[in-house]
């Protein structure tokens, strides 16, 4: 009874309510570390975390929209930088935080594309907390060694497919592992192939500038994906991304293209980077860093606006990011991270990040293109994986761009 | 003890007229039986008295109190009518012990604990169910259930007791016993009883008066012997009596001498009867004779009609002879002694003083 009545009375105390989708294993530990930093600074503020996991954050996206639409905004919530923020910005649910940016000197420490991703109409609306790389090809090192494949040859699609052939000849009938039960796993792979067709092409794609279904770059990308799928496990439609990674860990497949959160899976399985497994940019994407950026923002109508600001300051701080990212497996969005705190894969990633020629926002992970397109892109990729109809897929993509035409409000400048 | 007065009662269910133009006065302290075939509206009348059903039209008085009047828009709910009721399916509360069942009417009226206990003991004593007080209804036999239902109805000592076929779920043996039992209890409690049944034996054996219903209307009201001996129409005549009265379609061919042309042949009516018919000037008649007034003999006699013995039911102390005259069937009650003397061909004689004559078109009695 006591419990019942106490939860009835809503706490008016000094609180910070945050929503995010980091609920399990390392990701949970990471957000806890970030919260610990916050509480170290503001010990009198109680933090309420409301994690909502599932479907690469899709569930939480839906929940957040329902809550925000109903006027129940928390003090801060996680969102992918880029187009995923658009509905909130459009509806006026987010407060600009330009002052905070200048005050904290963040302008200088974040790279331009990342900054662009949290800016709408010239105003800053969010603070990036981490960067995941989407265009990573993971491989089982023992297998490559055994069959004499040099990772350096995997930088081009030709080299990659040659390696696949070699493995197949050696009895590994499906050298590439891919998931697909949530559809986005397939779209994720296709996105990296698009990136491999050149930054100009990718920029046109995410700016909604593609109009020709016979665009040779588009057709070429789908041809590559067509070939790619030949080497993919036929049961992809029933696998989650982590089950696909597990195939590589177990040595049933040699490769998988997945975001660098996959690193955690190798680590949990007790594998050592550089010894048991390796990671290189997806074929054809060397020098490009495809960004998956998580950020927090300040909702209008937050119940504790001051705490919300305090939280954002911690999120954007070097201390905060260096507490969060080593555990999370991502790298800081800031360029001034303390590289010594990170593991071997992440150190390599931080170097790549700092030296990247281009950075590109991911479509599949909510940043690069309007949600409407992203959502259709998942369906198209998934359909293509089963019907392999190149012209239908090309047409589908152009149609999806046209359907979302009104929503291309951002002009990405990637080069 | 109260009397019950019902005036011009009607009840329609949708388009079905379950009861119509029903007038009745039940006297104080009387055991009144409503008898009729299934669907004739008996339960509907009873439920109107109890207040379970609201009539479509009419008035009911219980003693001096008007309990329902459609004209005046008056309706007293059953709770306030101060009566007891016993149901065909016993309607015991299956989750309560016998004690709780019996005392339920007192408990809802918030009688004091000790009075409840006292009254329960007393009524259980009278009905011989003291040893059952702690059982649940599921653990009782039919007769025991019936007694419990009765105890529950009687515990408040209601001046009016309604019973809806209370015995029809009991087996034959038990029915006979309970018949006598119910009468005894009624006398002991000095309650006015209205009792519904479709079993004529019950009606005859228990009713001080009987009301016979058919298709929603009251056909005849009277004492058992009156109803048995002087049925006012063919329905009552055919309904009362087992085996039922033998009835034959007849035409009066010779009015002077009272000669009937019947299904089975000629029959000459006695003088007294002929005269009565003469007054009415009807020609198409129905002749009725109860089986016990059909005498079967083994040899020809003047006035006797020849018949064929086709089947005999032996019911212990008496026999039912099924006979045929031409194509007409006829039953007679005979003694085992008579039976033993019979061959296939027999002769029958009607008891002249006991024959009934009805108007064929209206069904009303003439003699």
């Amino acid at each position: 009874y006591y419990y019942y009545t106490t939860v009835l009375a809503r706490p008016r105390a000094n609180l910070l309510e945050i929503y995010h989708w980091w609920t399990s294993g390392g990701e949970k530990a990471a957000i806890d570390a970030l919260v610990a930093v916050f509480q170290g600074k503001y010990p009198d503020v109680g933090v309420i975390q409301s994690p909502v996991a599932g479907g690469a954050g899709y569930v939480m996206k839906a929940v957040m929209k329902a809550m925000v639409a109903a006027g129940e905004a928390p003090d801060a919530f996680q969102v992918h930088a880029g187009y995923e923020m658009k509905p909130y910005v459009d509806a006026g649910y987010l407060d600009p935080i330009d002052d905070l940016w200048s005050q904290q000197g963040w302008e200088e420490v974040f790279p331009p594309v990342v900054k662009d991703m949290v800016k709408w109409g010239g105003h800053y609306y969010a603070v990036p907390v981490n960067i995941h790389r989407a265009n990573v090809l993971w491989y089982n090192k023992h297998m490559l060694d055994r069959y004499g494949i040099d990772p350096a040859t995997l930088e081009t699609w030709d080299g990659f497919f040659e390696a696949c052939e070699k493995l197949r000849a050696a009895g590994i009938s499906h050298p590439i592992a891919m998931g697909g039960i949530g559809k986005w796993e397939i779209a994720h792979a296709l996105e990296q192939i698009f990136v491999s067709q050149g930054i100009e092409f990718y920029q046109d794609l995410i700016n909604g500038k593609l109009t020709d279904p016979n665009d040779p770059r588009l057709v070429r990308a789908l041809q590559i994906f067509h070939r790619y799928l030949d080497y993919v496990n036929p049961d992809y439609a029933t696998l989650t991304w982590d089950q696909a990674v597990a195939r590589v860990i177990r040595g049933e497949a040699a490769f998988t293209i997945m975001g660098d959160w996959a690193n955690g899976e190798f680590l949990v399985a007790g594998k050592v980077f550089g010894v048991d497994y390796g990671a290189i940019p997806a074929p054809g994407t060397k020098g490009i860093y495809v960004l998956v950026v998580d950020c927090f923002e300040r909702p209008r109508g937050a119940k504790h606006p001051e705490n919300s600001i305090k939280w954002l300051i911690v999120v954007g701080s070097k201390e905060g990011q260096d507490a969060f990212n080593p555990i999370k497996g991502s790298i800081p969005a800031r360029l001034d991270a303390d590289i010594a705190k990170y593991g071997p894969y992440q150190q390599q990633a931080i170097n790549d990040f700092r030296n990247a020629r281009y950075m590109a926002p991911s479509i599949v992970h909510g940043s690069g293109a309007p949600e409407k397109f992203a959502s259709a892109f998942n369906d198209i990729s998934s359909a293509f994986a089963s019907n392999r109809d190149i012209s239908a897929a090309c047409r589908g993509i152009i149609d999806a761009i046209n359907a979302a035409r009104d929503e291309y409000v951002k002009e990405w400048r990637l080069y | 003890m109260v009397n019950v007065y019902i005036k011009d009662l009607c009840k329609k269910f949708g388009r079905v007229e379950a009861v119509k133009d029903f007038d009745l006065e039940v006297k104080s302290g009387e055991f009144f039986v409503l008898l009729g075939p299934s669907g004739s509206g008996k339960s509907t009348v009873l439920n109107c008295i109890a207040g379970i059903i609201k009539p479509t039209k009419g008035e009911i008085w219980i003693s001096d109190k008007l309990v329902v009047s459609t004209e005046k828009g008056l309706y007293v709910p059953p709770q306030e009518r101060n009566l007891g009721m016993v149901f065909q399916d016993f309607a015991l509360y299956p989750h309560m012990s016998v004690f709780d069942n019996i005392t339920f009417p007192l408990k809802v009226r918030k009688f004091p604990e000790n009075e409840i206990r006292m009254r329960a003991e007393q009524i259980a004593g009278i009905l011989g169910i003291k040893h059952l007080l702690n059982r649940k209804p599921g653990q009782l036999s039919g007769g025991e259930k019936q007694r419990v239902g009765l105890a529950r109805a009687l515990i408040r000592n209601p001046p009016l007791l309604l019973m809806d076929e209370p015995l029809s779920n009991l087996d034959a043996k038990l029915r006979v016993l309970m018949r006598v039992e119910l009468k005894r209890i009624q006398r002991e409690f000095k309650t006015t009883v209205i009792y519904v049944t479709h079993d004529q034996v019950e009606a005859l054996s228990m009713g001080d008066r009987i009301g016979i219903m058919s298709a929603g209307t009251l056909q005849q009201v009277g004492e058992p012997t009156e109803i048995y001996e002087k049925p006012i129409n063919t329905f009552v005549a055919g309904f009362i009596g087992s085996p039922p009265m033998n009835m034959f379609n007849c035409t009066l061919t010779d009015l002077e001498r009272g000669v009937l042309e019947c299904d089975f042949g000629k029959y000459v009516l006695p003088k007294s009867v002929t005269e009565a018919i003469f007054m009415k000037a009807v020609k198409e008649l129905i002749l009725g004779v109860r089986p016990e007034h059909v005498k079967v003999i083994s040899s020809q006699m003047p006035g006797a009609i020849e018949a064929k013995l086709i089947h005999v039911e032996k019911l212990g102390r008496e026999l039912i002879a099924h006979l045929k005259i031409e194509e007409s069937k006829i039953t007679s009650i005979i003694s085992p002694e008579v039976y033993s003397s019979l061959k296939e061909t027999v002769w029958i004689i009607f008891d002249e003083n006991k024959i009934h004559v009805f108007n064929k078109s209206s069904g009303q009695v003439i003699v």
């Binding site: 419990y3 019942y4 939860v7 009835l8 809503r10 309510e17 989708w21 980091w22 609920t23 399990s24 294993g25 990701e27 949970k28 309420i48 975390q49 409301s50 909502v52 996991a53 599932g54 479907g55 690469a56 954050g57 569930v59 929940v63 809550m67 639409a69 109903a70 006027g71 129940e72 995941h132 989650t240 597990a246 177990r250 975001g259 959160w261 955690g264 899976e265 949990v268 399985a269 007790g270 | 109890a50 379970i52 059953p78 009518r81 009566l83 009721m85 149901f87 065909q88 399916d89 309607a91 015991l92 509360y93 299956p94 339920f104 809802v108 009226r109 239902g149 529950r152 109805a153 408040r156």
Partner: protein, 270 residues
């Protein structure tokens, strides 16, 4: 055993295997270590069983289980009780247009919940019951009323009229009849309704995820959270699943034999 029943039992056993499989794999995965989960397929029993995932899942889910248990039990009880009153009124007392009212209420059984989520947040938030066990209780109770009423009405329709008439004549009003007669007699309907409501409220995810936050989240949400977004702890997730399923399975095991009796008593027969 003769040939025919051998066939029947064989068929039953094969089918039982199919129906038991998910439960089995939940259990085996729950007892595996992280590494073994990644190295084996789900039905293979653990080579080296460990209770760590179970303990971990329990630790994480404790609060959620308490929350769920609270509002599930209360909402089950309240919605069944209200359903029994409504069912009784609509079946036995009846009034003008009671059939229409019943029909209108029954429509509520078929509401797509996703369509009402946003107004629901607004309403609960305005009413001050947003993010509270009380709010969850009220929402689940309310949305349970139509189906509970349906179950109870069907049940009471089968209850002989004569018992109620007897009680009326014995001097009981509607309320007394309900309390002393209908309520105690309707236990089979309570079992059916209770089990049905308990199962569906316990398994609900949508209302839990939008109407609660932080430590008020129900077990269903906490369970979903055991499987991360960018990290997959299947063993902990399955351990959580196992723990999460226990109360419902227990309810079925305990009340299974009464369920059939309840159904026979008419609670669901249309």
């Amino acid at each position: 055993m003769n040939k025919a029943s051998l066939v029947v039992y064989t068929a039953l056993t094969i089918l039982a295997f199919m129906y038991f499989l998910p439960f089995w794999s939940v259990l085996t995965t729950a007892l595996k270590s992280d590494i073994e989960v990644r190295m084996t397929i789900p039905i293979v029993p653990p080579s080296n069983p460990t209770t760590t995932p179970l303990l971990k899942a329990f630790e994480l889910m404790k609060q959620g289980l308490v929350n769920s248990l609270l509002f599930t039990s209360f909402a089950t009880i309240f919605s069944s009780l209200i359903g029994s009153v409504n069912g009784f009124m609509l079946s036995k007392v009846k009034f003008k247009h009671s059939d229409t009212v019943f029909l209108a209420l029954s429509v509520g059984i078929f509401i797509p919940y996703h369509a009402v989520v946003i107004p629901l947040i607004t309403v609960t938030s305005k009413a001050g019951i947003y993010n509270s066990i009380l709010g969850m209780t009220i929402v689940h109770t309310t949305y349970g009323i139509p189906i509970c009423t349906l179950f109870f009405k069907n049940f009471f329709d089968e209850l002989p009229e004569s018992i109620l008439n007897a009680a009326r004549i014995d001097g009981a009003g509607d309320f007394t009849i309900y309390k002393r007669i209908a309520l105690p007699l309707s236990w089979p309907a309570f079992i059916i309704t209770g089990v049905f409501q308990f199962t569906s409220i316990w398994n609900d995810f949508l209302f839990g995820v939008v109407l609660t936050k932080g430590s008020n989240q129900p077990a269903s949400v906490v369970l979903a959270n055991l499987l991360g977004t960018t990290a997959a702890e299947w063993n902990v997730q399955m351990a959580g699943t196992f723990i999460y399923a226990l109360p419902v399975v227990a309810v079925y095991l305990l009340l299974g034999k009464y369920l059939i009796r309840g159904y026979l008593a008419g609670a669901i027969k249309g």
